[in-house]
């Protein structure tokens, strides 16, 4: 029991910020990001309880859980298209909340908004490569793709982002 808690604490402390940020950049709401991040780590804890506590690549593992949790979230919400009005309301809401917390400047909001307009895979690649600063091999381990595919994907994601952002 102690061993499980110790290992969980170690992984939690190391990745909680990254997972929260990854989810927040994809769902754009603080409450939802908190709920989904909790779900990620609850699934991790249960996995550690059931299996051997030591996970070969905890970083890849928690990001994979996060992707599943986000997919489950959207599936349960049955979100297909987000209207421009809703997006604007959500952005205003985020700005108000984040301004209070001193987390994100307005300029960062513009980048965040542009990332949110990208397709899911491109969002992931941008966040992992340039926000979380993961290496190409690390991203390849998470996605199960070859390093070459990841490099091409990151390049295409940046090109796609250029078209969405006005700097």
């Amino acid at each position: 029991m102690e061993e499980i808690d110790q290992y969980f604490n170690q992984v939690y402390d190391q990745y909680v910020n990254k997972i929260y940020r990854f989810i927040y950049l994809k769902v754009s709401l603080v409450e939802t990001a908190e709920d989904l991040s909790s779900e990620v780590f609850l699934r991790l804890y249960r996995h550690i309880q059931k299996n051997n506590p030591v996970i070969e690549n905890p970083q890849a593992f928690v990001y994979q859980i996060a992707r599943n949790v986000i997919a489950d979230h959207y599936r349960s919400k049955k979100i297909t298209v987000v209207s421009i009005e809703k997006t604007t309301i959500e952005i205003e809401d985020i700005q108000e909340r984040t301004r209070e917390q001193g987390e994100v400047s307005l300029e960062m909001d513009r980048i965040k908004e542009a990332i949110a307009k990208l397709q899911g895979d491109y969002q992931d690649l941008i966040i992992w490569r340039y926000v979380d600063e993961l290496t190409v091999p690390e991203i390849a381990q998470i996605t199960g793709k070859t390093e070459e595919n990841v490099r091409v994907g990151v390049h295409r994601a940046i090109q796609a982002l250029k078209g969405k952002v006005d700097i």
């Binding site: 029991m1 808690d5 969980f8 604490n9 939690y12 909680v16 910020n17 929260y20 940020r21 927040y24 950049l25 990001a33 908190e34 991040s37 909790s38 780590f41 609850l42 804890y45 249960r46 309880q49 984040t98 917390q101 987390e103 994100v104 400047s105 300029e107 960062m108 980048i111 965040k112 990332i115 941008i126 966040i127 340039y130 926000v131 979380d132 600063e133 940046i158 982002l161 250029k162 952002v165 700097i167």
Partner: protein, 247 residues
């Protein structure tokens, strides 16, 4: 190329996004609590005492006397240390047993225990003691549930005493609200709801009683304010008005 570098520099600034510290702290303990539900249930007081008493059979043999003496001396030291322990610490169960054994089994005693649990929780939160948080919260919630049951019993059997202890209860709620503010999360919603219900029953009983009494104008005005607060489900405020009438 410069445009791309600028864009990447701006993207990388998004790493400044961080979760709320209070959420990080609270989520971790909640996850461990949630995942461990039903695992490692605590022994009841009777089971714990029975467990200790079972060791008395060794006293039949004189050879164990030194061991017993050593146990007593170390026990004394352990007692001192345990008094400063917190929920989640190894020696906390010792403190808990001593508290239960030395506290009278009546309603006012449960308030004292709840106050101690609140003080423990405050120490844990202010000291950022993550490993103690889940246990301290659970112990506090248990004591709040006890308090709610105690208050309901007092309203039925000793209404005057119920009004007296309600002052301590309001202080307890205020202390809890302060801790919730630090944590940025609600503690024990179910237990809080039980407590609010107990306060509601107390306020109803007091208002019914006051309606039957002859009051001076000033008291009538306070009673009206208490009724208004009751209608708005602000039982703390209603009680404050009732206390002023009763003084």
């Amino acid at each position: 190329m410069a445009y791309e570098k600028d864009l990447i520099a701006k993207i990388s600034r998004l790493k400044e996004i961080e979760p709320r510290n209070s959420w990080v702290l609270f989520a971790k303990t909640n996850i461990q609590n949630e995942a461990n539900k039903g695992v490692g249930q605590k022994l009841s007081l009777i089971q714990e005492i029975g467990h200790l008493v079972s060791y008395a059979r060794y006293l039949e043999r004189p050879a164990y006397i030194f061991a017993v003496l050593a146990f007593v001396v170390l026990g004394g030291i352990g007692y001192k240390v345990s008094q400063n322990s917190l929920p989640g610490d190894a020696l906390y169960s010792v403190r808990s047993i001593i508290e239960k054994a030395t506290t009278r089994n009546d309603s006012s005693a449960t308030f004292k225990i709840a106050e101690r649990r609140l003080a423990d929780l405050r120490r844990v939160v202010e000291g950022n003691m993550v490993k103690n948080l889940a246990s301290a919260t659970e112990e506090f919630n248990l004591s709040v549930a006890e308090v709610s049951r105690g208050l309901l019993a007092l309203v039925e059997n000793e209404p005057k005493k119920a009004l007296q202890v309600s002052r301590e209860l309001v202080q307890l709620q205020k202390g809890k609200a302060q801790i919730e503010q630090i944590l940025g999360a609600t503690i024990g919603e179910e237990e809080t709801s039980e407590l609010t219900n107990a306060l509601k029953v107390l306020v109803e009983a007091e208002l019914n009683d006051l309606q039957k009494r002859t009051l001076i104008d000033e008291q009538e005005e306070l009673l009206k304010q208490a009724f208004d607060a009751y209608q708005e489900e602000d039982y703390q405020k209603a009680l404050e008005n009732i206390w002023m009438i009763s003084n």
